[in-house]
Point group: C2
Chain length 336, copies 2
Amino acid sequence: MIIDCHGHFTTAPKELQAFRDEQIEGLKHSGQPRTKRSLAITDDQLREAVQPQLKFQNDRGTDVTIFSPRASAMAHHIGDLTTSTHWSEHCNDLIHRVCELFPRNFVGVCQLPQTPGVTPDTSVAELKRCVTELGFVGCNLNPDPSGGHWNAPPLTDRYWYTFYEAMVDLDVPAMVHVSASCNPSFHATGAHYINADTTAFMQFIQADLFKDLPALRMIIPHGGGGVPYHWGRYRGLAQDMKRPLLADMIRNNVFFDTCVYHQAGIDLLTKIVPVDNILFGSEMVGAVRGIDPETGQYYDDTKRYIDAAPTLTAADRHKIFEANARRVYPRINAKL
Amino acid sequence: MIIDCHGHFTTAPKELQAFRDEQIEGLKHSGQPRTKRSLAITDDQLREAVQPQLKFQNDRGTDVTIFSPRASAMAHHIGDLTTSTHWSEHCNDLIHRVCELFPRNFVGVCQLPQTPGVTPDTSVAELKRCVTELGFVGCNLNPDPSGGHWNAPPLTDRYWYTFYEAMVDLDVPAMVHVSASCNPSFHATGAHYINADTTAFMQFIQADLFKDLPALRMIIPHGGGGVPYHWGRYRGLAQDMKRPLLADMIRNNVFFDTCVYHQAGIDLLTKIVPVDNILFGSEMVGAVRGIDPETGQYYDDTKRYIDAAPTLTAADRHKIFEANARRVYPRINAKL
């Protein structure tokens, strides 16, 4: 079985965006009541909407996608807690419906109603609802709800601990995933995403988060941002700072996905990072949609790169494709 | 000859920091006159201060270091234009003195008196002074003078063009190099530096900067941040955005140094990025000062990794160690 830990519903029916547009328009009229109307989306529309993902699963030989709302559309910087709550609930409910329609193909991960300047404690209720009522197996946690201004405390700050304790209680991990950038310095998928991954990892090096919460599990997407390429730098910084060895720090707590879109990148990742800490992911249908003229294959068909990575054994590939995901997202075992 | 394009004067005599401390203290007393007093640093003190760099050059078999003030101490976010002007002049004058004392070992690159919210046009005078009077061959340009708040326009914005035109007129390149982070989210050398490198490269993809200024040359340090590891992502994003091929975009304009502190990282860099766009650099004495227990060698002894990189020919190494630097920093030729 091949579990893709990183897929977003980037192809949702247009009625979802219509709601969002209304919501954003409503923010311009402060007196207006804040309504979360229902979305008129049929099951047939949802079946149609996920055909691209189903086709890619079939064509590429993967089985199940850990599926979450479109990351760039979370846009926690827009509006306030009510805005993000309504928007997250709708997005998560649609993911749930897709998972119900295709229970063999999709398992849900939720968006959180984060808002700049508001404690993440306010996201606990939606996490609980999604896990206990909708059967989700994890969440996407935005380390920068401001969308590129980075004014939230580091992920190692106690600011986040109540939320983390809820994750531990529910036995679900978080993927550390930013959303759209409203900072013109940062292209979303080309800079903000990769920067956030790198930033989060360095924050983890600097503090004792995983000593405080040994059951907390974080997935850093996009192959760990710039970290594996700079593994020597991070080993050296940790050493100079008298922090634990990276391999010890990440062992039970930090995992990288394989959303790295060329063979040499995957070769480095799989050579350098312990295989127990790598989860197969493709981010499809996502940031890069084209076909690589150098290979004739989709850039984001990351299974091919794993299949071809020279340092991996069959046992390693089994861990990356399946066993690690079952360990990091234990609630998935009841689903498969 | 081996030219290290990335060295900072991180070991300056304590009198330099004493001036800076006074300057920062002075900012608390707004009525106080802003004086740039002279620094009482002797030539013997400077000779002593650069012994670590000279020893590493000797031990590692490198010849000359393109030498600039300590990057993390530029701290453009502190004070105002007067603060940064006084501070930059002192730092650059010390670099000049080191280069005069050891003309075979060091060639100067300047810090700029950038200040948040102030046009970079105000840095032209110091660039000209350093190049025409002090014999410097380049500059360090901070894309985020705010120190982690990223509120300056992208490097491709016309905001920077007058400064770029001065660079072109003087025929000097810039290394895109941020300084200290005053944002608790970003560790300076472990996150802010790498993020800035990644961010700058994505900005270059998005705009026509090098069409507008075909003679402008930028070095992205720290091995290009997260870019080479994600080369497929960037090729794919450029393709989806109908932007030029990366190899074409960077050819005469964008260069990566080799400040990547492990063999697998350098192997990826030298395999993926055209060798004409790679400049040898070590960042010594810099971000990572320890010895790698896995190799018994300094993490930042990057010459060893280049020597061992399997895809490089002798001609490639000559380009990386010397020829490319002579092309990117043409004023160095009169010095060597």
